[in-house]
Symmetry: C2
Subunit: 375 residues, 2 copies
């Protein structure tokens, strides 16, 4: 078993667990900053350690394009390449089907992408995706999935669910085949991704199809795309109804603090999102009283830190006025400070949530904190 549940909340489905990977164990729930190109934007691996991020997620398809998985493999794998001591996950690239600049079409064979650097067509099959992720050497690989847009018809989403299941079967078979001679503790984990948009029966259908393949964990894909919160939470519940409690549950793409607390209460164990990093770069900063816009007039001359209660080095040393000045001029230092703070905030949020779960006080914590984070 690569996942052990150590604490369960009594009032909600929140839980604490240990996920075992070839790079070591990690306590769940955890949040993964996004390191698309093998670096979190404006954040070094030393920064990640110092802000407490124990796992990150990179993008298989993007790294395949540049610098290429062969190079990363030659250099000792992604972990060594970027000198990150924590857990490296890789997303399959299915999400890139959202990028018209690289996505051409998909069929039963796989996804046809366009290489944005030279215009070449590039077929990514489930098998090829697995091979790339194994070469990258990440600790957690994700199946190639077909991610439907929210606006797609029910019929089209159902077809995406079926194709995703077929690809998941092929991913699993190929992944197992390649790793069969590896010692168990050196194996890369593989997670399936369920789809189904906001249709709860399709979500259950998808989970049911994928359950059979006994993945190391299950991700909920195709959310955080503009659906309502109620739709999102119901989709999570539908997924969780089918997937065994013993499997780690990963909600892809959600990074809003209030959503994360809610999802934890529904039994979600893992998160990733551009939300904190992208917001930071755009001047939206997280505080225990909700998000603030740093460009708001009242921050221009403020001596106060971003969040008075925050213990990160940015809040201990810099004023809102300074951060606002630097971000206004798009200074790299400002992007760094703002990103560091938002990521620290996320780590601290999850850390506080875990403490509350362990103390049996998660509901109270969620209620108290959530009010502010909804903003």
């Amino acid at each position: 078993m690569s996942f052990i549940i150590t604490h369960k909340d009594k009032k909600t489905k929140a839980r604490i667990g240990i996920l075992k990977t070839k790079s070591g164990n990690i306590e769940t729930p955890f949040f993964m900053p996004v390191a698309t190109k093998a670096a979190v934007k404006h954040i070094s691996s030393e920064d990640l350690s110092s802000l407490g991020a124990k796992a990150i997620i990179s993008n298989t398809f993007i790294l395949h394009l540049s610098p290429g998985e062969k190079l990363i493999k030659k250099l000792g794998g992604i972990k060594k390449f970027m000198n990150f001591s924590g857990i490296n996950a890789t997303d399959s690239g299915g999400f890139q089907m959202y990028s018209p600049s690289v996505y051409l079409y998909s069929n039963e064979r796989g996804v046809m992408f366009k290489n944005p650097f030279n215009g070449d067509k590039l077929l990514i099959t489930p098998e090829k995706d697995m091979k790339i992720q194994l070469d990258l050497g990440s600790d957690i690989a994700m199946c190639l999935d077909e991610m439907p847009l929210l606006s797609f018809s029910r019929e089209k989403i159902k077809k995406a669910v079926e194709r995703t299941a077929d690809w998941a079967r092929r991913c699993k078979a190929y992944h197992e085949q390649i790793q069969k001679n590896k010692e168990k503790h050196k194996r890369q984990l593989l997670f399936g991704i369920t789809q189904g948009g906001i249709y709860l029966d399709l979500r259950k259908f998808s989970a049911g199809l994928l359950k059979e393949f006994d993945f190391d964990g299950y991700a909920i894909g195709g959310l955080a795309l503009g659906e309502t919160k109620k739709q999102e939470y119901n989709a999570i519940k539908a997924h969780k109804l089918i997937i065994p409690e013993s499997k780690p549950c990963y909600l892809m793409g959600s990074g809003n603090p209030a959503e994360i607390l809610k999802a934890i209460s529904l039994g979600v164990d893992m998160f990733d999102s551009r939300f904190p990093t992208q917001n930071a770069r755009r001047g939206t900063l997280f505080t225990c009283k909700g998000r603030i816009r740093i460009f708001n007039k009242k921050n221009k001359a403020s001596k106060e830190p971003i969040d008075k209660t925050c213990k990160c080095f940015v809040c201990r040393n810099y004023s809102k006025a300074y951060i606002a000045h630097l971000l206004k001029h798009e200074e790299g230092t400002g992007l760094h400070l703002a990103t560091f703070h938002n990521l620290y905030f996320m780590q601290n949020l999850i850390s506080s949530a875990k403490t509350a779960i362990k103390k049996g006080k998660f509901s109270e914590f969620k209620k108290r904190a959530g009010i502010f984070y909804e903003k």
Copy 2:
């Protein structure tokens, strides 16, 4: 006296000194990374401390435009604004006469700039420049100077020298007037800037005019603009012939390692330049064997650090392949790592030079190191 010489090299004019400022003492020679907008690009004040930079230089005119000296004063001065524990110097903005986007013309009253944010005309007089720098609260202020281009006629350069001297007189008078009731150890230092292009008689003429005003230090302006090294060194010598040895000597704008070693041997005590930071961003990295282009094919798959002998955290933890990958994609993390390394290299170079001076072995050090740094 704000400057005390503690060691003199026997074979050259190299020396070690202590410059006393209101923020504390600093050993010379030292190199100031450029923090134009109150931040060194991609480097936090914590990074500056960790890489050993004890002084930085910001730009008066640019900070006047945004966020404005009044705001910085209100927030406790530039030192507090950017949380830098070392010495803050401010350049007057005379150098901006090189920027056609902001420079309109100059006359005996001062420099007429154009505000690039709103197009307004903006007259910066010597008195106004002093007032801004006093409000910014830097430790070392620079006089407003008229910086001629290398291509200007001898006659035009002579006029710039005369105007620079007149402005220096006005700067000194105003600066002294404002600070007259301040305790000595709380006063901002003021440096004069000599001009004269590559004309040695004009350099001496300029130094002679400025010598009379007994500034706390003297900078050599208008160099590092494309003149030959011989012309640069001769101009330094001409300046030093006239300005008393007891005054700190600041060569503005030179950041090439070989030039710095040569200038130290001529008795220069202070340096600033965009050279290490700008080069880093463009992929030119400093090593003890000369500069390397990170985008060179042979670095693409290199497991080696930028410089095997360098002890900075970048060289201890990251390969050239990783830095090349990040810089290729203009990732902020790559800009940060490359900039950190180049600045660390500069600090280490000057630190080694100081050790050599103290041991009486500066000439040998300069000869040995200079061969590589010329590259």
